[in-house]
């Protein structure tokens, strides 16, 4: 019974996200203010459904559903959605929702193709650290994904402004300054979570494997990602890496995040490769 609900829930998440994404895109083309509100309501609904789905999986599995490939990606999409919605509550960036909803939808489609089976939890993962470490890390990825979206928007807008050919994006995208601020805020939030994720991970590693750090590929790549973002933040405050450079770095950083999440698991292996 519960697993049927669970199955239906995921399909409805997929459907609602698709609708949200579609309405956002229609809004992006037509720029009718009414549609934006509709799209936002649907996107919130999608966020709530995602929460329900994750909770239902938790009830069935009895542990935080973040270990399989499917679960990790759903959790990722969930964190992007809520990171966006929480940001939106503070301040709004014109047409940001369109880009985020597309990203979320793509993630959910990827999740749909992964196996949805429940796996028994490896002994090493049976710990209260699992939700803390994985949850915090994925939250970091959520914010970094927003910085990535902002970076893409920045590059599109900057290209129009520099080339002086004002096409499709010029009126639809927000100002460079607000995109740069978005980048800086998302990065700051993402970086804090990323740091907490690595610290909680190493504490957990001490308990589970006896050492804080043992250069497992995933750890190494997390560290590389962390340094990428740390350098970026440092450069912003000291020599003013902003604008285009910051946008490019946000995109490069996010590629490193994706590689840490998937590339390492499939290409490099290591003790972290549970989620297959």
């Amino acid at each position: 019974m519960l697993s049927e609900i669970n199955y239906l829930l995921f399909n409805s998440v997929l459907l609602v996200s698709f609708v949200a994404c579609a309405v956002y895109l229609v809004f992006f083309f037509s720029q009718k203010e009414k549609l934006r509100k509709v799209a936002r309501m649907i996107f919130i609904a999608s966020g709530i459904l995602q929460s329900c789905y994750i909770f239902s999986r938790y009830l069935i599995a009895g542990y935080t559903p973040i270990t399989s490939q499917h679960e990790a990606v759903v959790f990722f999409a969930w964190s992007v959605t809520w990171a966006y919605l929480s940001f939106h509550w503070r301040y709004s960036v014109r047409n940001f929702g369109t880009f985020v909803s597309v990203l979320v939808f793509i993630m959910l489609v990827i999740a749909a193709f992964a196996s949805r089976d429940f796996q028994s939890l490896a002994p090493a993962l049976q710990s209260m650290w699992l939700p803390v470490h994985a949850g915090v890390s994925v939250m970091a990825y959520g914010f970094l994904a927003l910085a990535f979206c902002g970076g893409i928007m920045y590059l599109l807008q900057e290209r129009e402004l520099k080339s002086k050919k004002f096409g499709f994006f010029f009126t639809r995208l927000p100002s460079l300054d607000s995109l740069d601020q978005l980048n800086s805020h998302c990065l700051a939030a993402g970086f804090v979570f990323l740091t907490l994720g690595i610290i909680s991970g190493s504490v957990w590693a001490r308990q589970a494997w006896g050492t804080y750090w043992h250069w497992d590929p995933k750890e190494t790549w997390s560290l590389i990602t962390w340094f990428l973002y740390a350098a970026q933040i440092h450069q912003r405050f000291t020599v003013g890496w902003r604008g285009k450079r910051a946008a490019v770095m946000a995109i490069v950083g996010f590629c490193a995040v994706l590689f840490t999440l998937w590339g390492v698991t499939y290409l490099l292996g290591g003790v972290h490769s549970y989620a297959r």
């Binding site: 520099k162 009126t171 100002s175 300054d177 020599v239 003013g240 902003r242 604008g243």
Partner: protein, 423 residues
């Protein structure tokens, strides 16, 4: 004597790039070029307009290829070879020239359709030409008419209300670079009218400080005072770049005054905070390569045009209405011009005489009840004779030698005296 024609030739922003226009622009004022124009043979009246978007010569001259050649040579000087002229030049005659002038005056040919600066520039140009006695009855009438056409367009259409000046376009852009203009600092290089207008718009949109740099400090102080700003010398511009965000440059300098190498080190000092350069000077003040620097955005006059295109659709509708007014007025002027010829004037005079005669007869005859048919005929004849006797000398005068030369002014006066304009 060859026939006379109104001739208008020039280059504008539509088919001539800024790089060529800035070579042709008359940066030394109108006086000297007008004098040079007067030396061309066959020109009766002439007028010259030079703005950042166009250089146009308007003449009333004998219909002669040599005149056209001489004018082209005057316009392009040594900037281009004669083979290249055709690529940029437009040349209108008579009705077409009138039509074009009206379009320009009504701001329908402007880069930013509906902006009002052009009318002021045209009036200024006319003031010069008439002061130097370059214009005569034809061009005087034509230019005055163009002012009234512009006024009619302005009052009868909404083209001016949604009109966007260059500065408005600049603000659109600034808002895409900085999210708001609040607390942004503005540096004006050159304290001309354009700079003033831009400053007004920027401050109106929330910009905080205005720094004015000018060759003469006095003018800078004047302008700065109005915005509680600060005045500096031109040599302090580079230092100021560290503190400001938006730069509007509009000096009359013949060369580039700010180079890429000047700005590059500044960006490091200001931690790469964006700089927005607006170059409304022709010839350009700012090195076009500034735009290659990260976080530096440089727009010259032509670039601003593209921004304006964005809200073009709205104005296009009004422009159609305005064009109809221009067409109408151009036709009226054509009739006036045609009437200036001697033969039609004589015909109009005779027609008017006949009309007066008939009108008076119709009024008088019914009151003379006892008249026989023969007597009635005599009275009619007498009235007719009085009119033709009265008109005989004026007609002879019109046909005489003294009118074939310098005829326009006389014919024009003649037509006013006899009230032939109203028909």
């Amino acid at each position: 004597m060859p026939a006379e024609t109104i001739l208008l030739l020039g280059v504008n922003h539509k088919n001539t790039p800024l790089a060529v226009r800035e070579k042709l622009a008359l940066s030394s004022g109108y006086e000297q070029p007008l004098q040079e124009l007067s030396k061309i043979d066959g020109i009766r009246e002439y007028h010259l307009l030079s703005t950042c978007n166009r250089v146009e010569i308007l003449v009333y001259a004998s219909e002669d290829v040599m005149v056209e050649k001489a004018l082209q040579k005057f316009l392009f000087g040594d900037a281009l070879s004669p083979e290249e002229y055709d690529k940029y030049l437009y040349l209108y005659r008579n009705e077409e020239a009138v039509h074009h002038l009206f379009l320009v005056a009504a701001s329908l040919d402007s880069m930013i359709v509906g902006e009002s600066q052009i009318l002021g520039q045209l009036k200024e140009a006319y003031r010069w030409a008439s002061e130097k006695k370059c214009t005569g009855p034809i061009l005087n009438k034509l230019l005055h008419k163009s002012f009234s056409v512009a006024k009619r367009v302005r009052t009868e259409t909404c083209i001016g209300s949604s009109a966007v000046s260059i500065s408005f376009a600049a603000i659109e852009l600034a808002k895409k670079i900085f999210s708001s203009l609040e607390n942004k600092r503005v540096l004006l290089i050159g304290a001309g009218e354009m700079a003033e207008l831009a400053a007004e718009h920027l401050v109106g949109n929330g910009a905080k400080d205005v720094v004015v740099a000018n060759r003469t400090l006095e003018r800078a102080l004047d302008l700065a005072k109005r915005y509680n700003g600060q005045a500096v010398g031109l040599d302090e511009v580079v230092d100021q770049l560290e503190r400001v965000d938006i730069i509007v440059s509009s000096t009359g300098a013949p060369n580039v005054i700010l180079h890429k190498a000047d700005v590059k080190p500044v960006m490091r000092n200001r931690l790469n905070k964006p700089l927005f350069f607006i170059d409304i000077a022709v010839p350009r003040d700012l090195d076009p390569e500034l735009n290659d620097l990260d976080n530096v955005y440089l727009y010259d006059i032509d670039d601003l045009h593209n921004v304006v295109e964005l809200n073009k659709a709205e104005r296009d509708k009004e422009a159609i209405k305005a064009k109809r007014i221009v067409d109408e007025e151009a036709l009226k002027f054509k009739d006036w011009l045609a009437g200036l010829a001697i033969i039609p004037t004589i015909a109009a005079l005779r027609k008017k005489g006949g009309q007066v005669c008939r009108l008076e007869l119709e009024r008088t005859l019914p009151r003379l009840k006892n008249l026989s048919d023969a007597e009635r005929k005599t009275v009619e004849k007498m009235a007719g004779a009085i009119v033709s006797r009265l008109l005989h000398d004026p007609v002879v005068f019109l046909k005489s030698e003294s009118c074939t030369d310098q005829s326009d002014m006389k014919v024009d006066l003649y037509r006013s005296i006899f009230g032939l304009e109203k028909e």
